[in-house]
C-alpha cells in the first residue's frame, strides 16, 4: 500500500481532478446530445466512473481507505443499474422497435 501510495503521489492531484472532470463532462455531453438510449446509458456510466476515479485518488492522497470502499459500492450499484436499465431498454425496443429517446415523448400533458 505504501509503495502504491508513493507511486500515485508521483502524479500531482490536480491531474486526477482534471481527468475526472474531462471524463465527467464527456459523459454529460453524451447524455445531452445523443438520442440512442444505449449510448446515453454508456455516458451515464462514464460519469459514474469519473466520480469513482476521483474518489480513489482522494482516498490514496489522504491515506484513508474509506473512499476506495465507497468505490466498490458504487460499482456494485452500477452493475445492478445496468442490469435493470438494459432490461428496460430491451422492453422499449420490443414495444416501439426503436431505442431513440425522442420517440418516447408521450409522457407529458
Amino acid at each position: 500500500m505504501q509503495s502504491l501510495t508513493n507511486t500515485m503521489q508521483a502524479v500531482p492531484l490536480n491531474n486526477y481532478i482534471l481527468l475526472s472532470a474531462i471524463i465527467f463532462s464527456i459523459g454529460v455531453i453524451g447524455v445531452l446530445i445523443r438520442r440512442n438510449a444505449i449510448v446515453i446509458f454508456m455516458s451515464v456510466e462514464l460519469m459514474l466512473n469519473a466520480v469513482n476515479l476521483l474518489l480513489a485518488a482522494f482516498s490514496v492522497y489522504r491515506g484513508d481507505a474509506t473512499g476506495q470502499v465507497f468505490v466498490f459500492f458504487i460499482m456494485a450499484l452500477a452493475a445492478a443499474e445496468v442490469a435493470i436499465g438494459l432490461a428496460i431498454i430491451v422492453m422499449i425496443y420490443r414495444n416501439t422497435n426503436s431505442i431513440d429517446i425522442n420517440v418516447l415523448n408521450r409522457l407529458k400533458w
Binding site: V28, V31, L32, R35, I101, N102, L104, N105, W109
Partner: protein
C-alpha cells in the same frame, strides 16, 4: 314570595311553548284557555309580589343562575322586583290578561288562532323579562324580544304585502334605537365597571356630574328609548304598526312595549338626573312629539290611526314629564295610559268587529244604539285621555303639566295646547263613530251587533280602571296623599335628593288645573258643534282640502320625506355597491385571479414536453445553477 318570583315570566313562556307546539292540534278553546290562564297566574303572583313590597318596602332580588363570567365581568341571570317593576308587572300581566281574554273573542274566526296566542304569550314573557331584569343585559334581552314579537304580530297577516312592510319598518326603526341602547350599555360598563343596576346607580350617585360622560351615556340610552317608544324622529313605525290585529295594538303598541323606553329612563333616573342637558333634550323631544303627533291625529280618518297618533302624543307627554324631572308623574301617566289606551284600542276593535272589518270613520257613525257597552266604555276612555276630572288621565297629565310649568312656562303652554288637541281629536273620533247616522253599506248595517261578553268584560274592567285609576295619585293640593309618589319614592330617592323637592303654591296649581280642564272642555265643545251639530264629515280621499288640513292629513309628508332623504339615497348606494363595487370590483377581481391562474398554467405546462432530452438539459442547468450559487456563497463567506 321570593321563591316563586321566577315563575312570573316562566308561565307565559310555558304558554308559548305549549301553544306553539299545539297550535294546529289543540282546539281553539283550549289554546285560549291555556294562554289566558297562564297570564292570569302570572298576574296573581305579581299581585303577591306587589303586596309584599307594599308591606315590607324592600325590593325582591333573586338570582336564578349565573349566566356567564368573563374575567371579572359576571352576569347573573337575576330578577329585581322593586316598587317600579312591581307596578309594571301588574300592568303587563293585568292588562295583558284582559287583552288575552278579549282576543279569544276577537280572533275567533282567524286561522292563525294558535299562532296568535303563542306570540302573545311570548311577548308577555319578554316584556316581563325586560322589567324584571336586575341588570341592563337582562333588560336588553327583553328589549330585543319584545321587538321581535312586535314584528311577528304586526306582520301577523303577512300575506298582505303592505302589512309585511309595516312589520319590517317597525323592526328596522327599532334596530336604530337598539343600537343606541347597546352603545349606552357599553359606555355604562366602561365607566362604572358593571351593568347591574344596584352597582351602577350607587356609584353614579356618589359621583359629580363631570366624573363620567353622563350626557353621552344618557343620550345613547335615550336614543334606545326614542326607537322603542316611537318619538321624533323614529315614530313613523308606530302608526304603521296598526296593521297588526287590534288586541296587539292595544297590548304592545299602547299599553306595554312602547312604554319600555319610559320604564328604562325611570329605572336609570339617577344617570339622567346627573345629565341636565340630556333632560332638556328629552323634554323638548317629548313636547315636540306630543304636539306633532296630536296635529296629525286631528285629521286622520282611520280609527286606529287616530289612536296610534294619540299614543305617540301621549308617549311624548311621558317624555316631557321625564325631561322636567317628574319621574313619578311620567310613570303615573304610563299607568293610566295603559288603562285608557288599551280600553280605547279594544273598543275600536269592538267597533271594527261590528262593522265587518271597516276602519274608516267616514263609513261609521250612529253606532251608539247598536253597541251600547262599547260606546259607554269608549266614552269613559275618551274622557280619561282628554284629562277631564275625575277620570284617570286628568291626574297624571296634570302632574306632568305642573312640573312642566315649574320648568318653563313655554313647555306648559305648548303642553296645554296639545292637551286641547287631544281632547278635540278624541271626541272627534267618538262623535264620528257613535253619533249621527250610519254611513256604511246596508250589508254592514245588517251585520251590526254588540261584541260577545268575553270582549265586553275586559272593556268594562278597563273602563272602571280608567275612571278610578287616577285616585292612587291625587295631588295634595286636591286633598289627596299621592299614594303612588310615596310608594315609588325609594326608586327615585337619589334623584330627588339631587333635584330637591319641587312644589308649587296651591293657588297656582289650581289655576293650572283649571286652565287645562277648561281648555279640554272647550275643545270638546268645538268637536261637538263641528261633528255632531254640523255633521261635518271629513271629505273623501281624493277631494281637495285646505292647505293646513291637507298637511296634517298627509302626516306632514314625514314618510315621503324619509323616503327621499334616507331610503332613496340608501337604495342608490346599495345599487352602486352592488353593480359597481360588488359586480365590477370584487367579482371581477376574484374571477380575474382564477382566470390569470388558468392562463399562466396553460403557458407553464408547455415546459413539460415529454422529451427526455429536454428534461435532462433542464436538470443540468439546475445543477449548474446550484453549483454556481454555492461557489459564490462560499467565496462570500471567505
Amino acid at each position: 314570595m321570593d321563591k316563586y318570583i321566577w315563575l312570573i315570566p316562566l308561565l307565559p313562556l310555558a304558554g308559548f311553548i305549549i301553544n306553539g307546539i299545539g297550535r294546529n292540534s289543540l282546539s281553539k278553546n283550549t289554546i285560549g284557555f291555556i294562554a289566558s290562564l297562564l297570564v292570569f297566574a302570572s298576574f296573581a303572583l305579581s299581585v303577591g309580589a306587589f303586596l309584599q313590597i307594599k308591606s315590607t318596602g324592600l325590593p325582591i332580588n333573586v338570582t336564578v343562575f349565573d349566566w356567564f363570567a368573563v374575567d371579572n365581568f359576571k352576569v347573573p341571570f337575576s330578577f329585581l322586583v322593586d316598587q317600579l317593576s312591581s307596578i309594571m308587572l301588574l300592568i303587563i300581566t293585568g292588562v295583558g290578561f284582559l287583552i288575552h281574554l278579549y282576543s279569544i273573542g276577537y280572533m275567533h274566526d282567524d286561522n292563525g288562532f294558535g299562532k296568535f296566542f303563542a306570540y302573545l304569550n311570548l311577548f308577555v314573557f319578554f316584556m316581563l323579562l325586560l322589567v324584571m331584569g336586575s341588570n341592563y343585559l337582562i333588560m336588553f334581552i327583553g328589549w330585543e324580544g319584545v321587538g321581535l314579537c312586535s314584528y311577528l304580530l304586526i306582520g301577523f297577516w303577512y300575506t298582505n304585502p303592505s302589512y309585511a312592510d309595516a312589520a319590517k319598518k317597525a323592526f328596522v326603526m327599532n334596530r336604530i334605537g337598539d343600537l343606541g341602547f347597546l352603545i349606552g350599555i357599553f359606555l355604562i360598563f366602561t365607566y362604572f365597571g358593571s351593568i347591574t343596576y344596584a352597582d351602577v346607580f350607587s356609584k353614579a350617585a356618589g359621583m359629580h356630574s363631570k366624573d363620567a360622560p353622563f350626557v353621552l351615556i344618557t343620550l345613547m340610552l335615550f336614543v334606545g328609548a326614542v326607537g322603542k317608544s316611537a318619538q321624533l324622529p323614529l315614530f313613523t313605525w308606530l302608526p304603521d304598526a296598526m296593521a297588526g290585529p287590534t288586541p296587539v295594538s292595544a297590548l304592545i303598541h299602547a299599553a306595554t312595549m312602547v312604554t319600555a323606553g319610559i320604564y328604562m329612563i325611570a329605572r336609570s333616573n339617577i344617570l339622567f338626573t346627573m345629565a341636565p342637558d340630556t333632560m332638556e333634550v328629552i323634554a323638548i323631544v317629548g313636547l315636540v312629539t306630543a304636539t306633532f303627533a296630536a296635529l296629525i291625529a286631528l285629521t286622520q280618518t282611520d280609527i286606529k290611526k287616530v289612536l296610534a297618533y294619540s299614543t305617540v302624543s301621549q308617549l311624548g307627554y311621558m317624555f316631557l314629564g321625564l325631561g322636567v324631572g317628574a319621574y313619578t308623574g311620567a310613570f303615573f301617566h304610563v299607568l293610566t295610559h295603559a288603562f285608557f289606551k288599551a280600553l280605547l284600542f279594544l273598543g275600536a276593535g269592538s267597533v271594527i268587529h261590528a262593522v265587518s272589518g271597516e276602519q274608516d270613520m267616514r263609513n261609521m257613525g250612529g253606532l251608539k244604539g247598536k253597541l251600547p257597552i262599547t260606546f259607554i266604555t269608549m266614552l269613559v276612555g275618551t274622557i280619561a285621555i282628554s284629562g277631564i276630572p275625575p277620570f284617570a288621565g286628568f291626574f297624571s297629565k296634570d302632574e306632568i303639566l305642573a312640573h312642566a310649568f315649574m320648568h318653563s312656562t313655554t313647555f306648559y303652554v305648548v303642553g296645554v295646547i296639545t292637551a286641547m288637541f287631544t281632547s278635540f281629536y278624541m271626541f272627534r273620533m267618538l262623535y264620528l263613530t257613535f253619533y249621527g247616522k250610519f254611513r256604511g253599506t246596508t250589508e254592514q248595517e245588517h251585520h251590526l251587533h254588540e261584541s260577545p261578553s268575553n270582549m265586553t268584560i275586559p272593556l268594562i274592567i278597563l273602563a272602571i280602571l280608567s275612571a278610578v285609576g287616577g285616585f292612587i295619585g291625587v295631588p295634595e293640593s286636591l286633598g289627596g296623599h299621592h299614594e303612588l309618589e310615596h310608594f315609588l319614592a325609594p326608586v327615585f330617592e337619589r334623584s330627588t335628593k339631587i333635584m330637591g323637592e319641587q312644589t308649587l303654591p296651591k293657588n297656582t296649581e289650581w289655576v293650572l288645573m283649571a286652565v287645562s280642564v277648561l281648555g279640554a272642555i272647550a275643545a270638546l265643545g268645538y268637536a261637538y258643534s263641528k261633528y255632531v251639530k254640523k255633521a261635518d264629515i271629513p271629505v273623501a280621499e281624493t277631494e281637495e282640502r285646505p292647505a293646513l288640513v291637507s298637511l296634517s292629513y298627509h302626516k306632514f309628508y314625514i314618510d315621503e320625506l324619509y323616503d327621499t332623504l334616507i331610503r332613496k339615497p340608501l337604495d342608490a348606494l346599495s345599487v352602486f355597491l352592488y353593480k359597481v363595487v360588488d359586480l365590477l370590483g370584487i367579482d371581477d377581481f376574484i374571477n380575474g385571479l382564477g382566470k390569470g391562474t388558468i392562463e399562466a398554467s396553460k403557458g407553464l405546462r408547455l415546459l413539460q414536453t415529454g422529451n427526455v432530452g429536454s428534461y435532462i438539459f433542464m436538470m443540468i442547468i439546475g445543477i449548474i445553477a446550484i453549483l454556481v450559487y454555492s461557489f459564490i456563497s462560499i467565496h462570500n463567506i471567505k
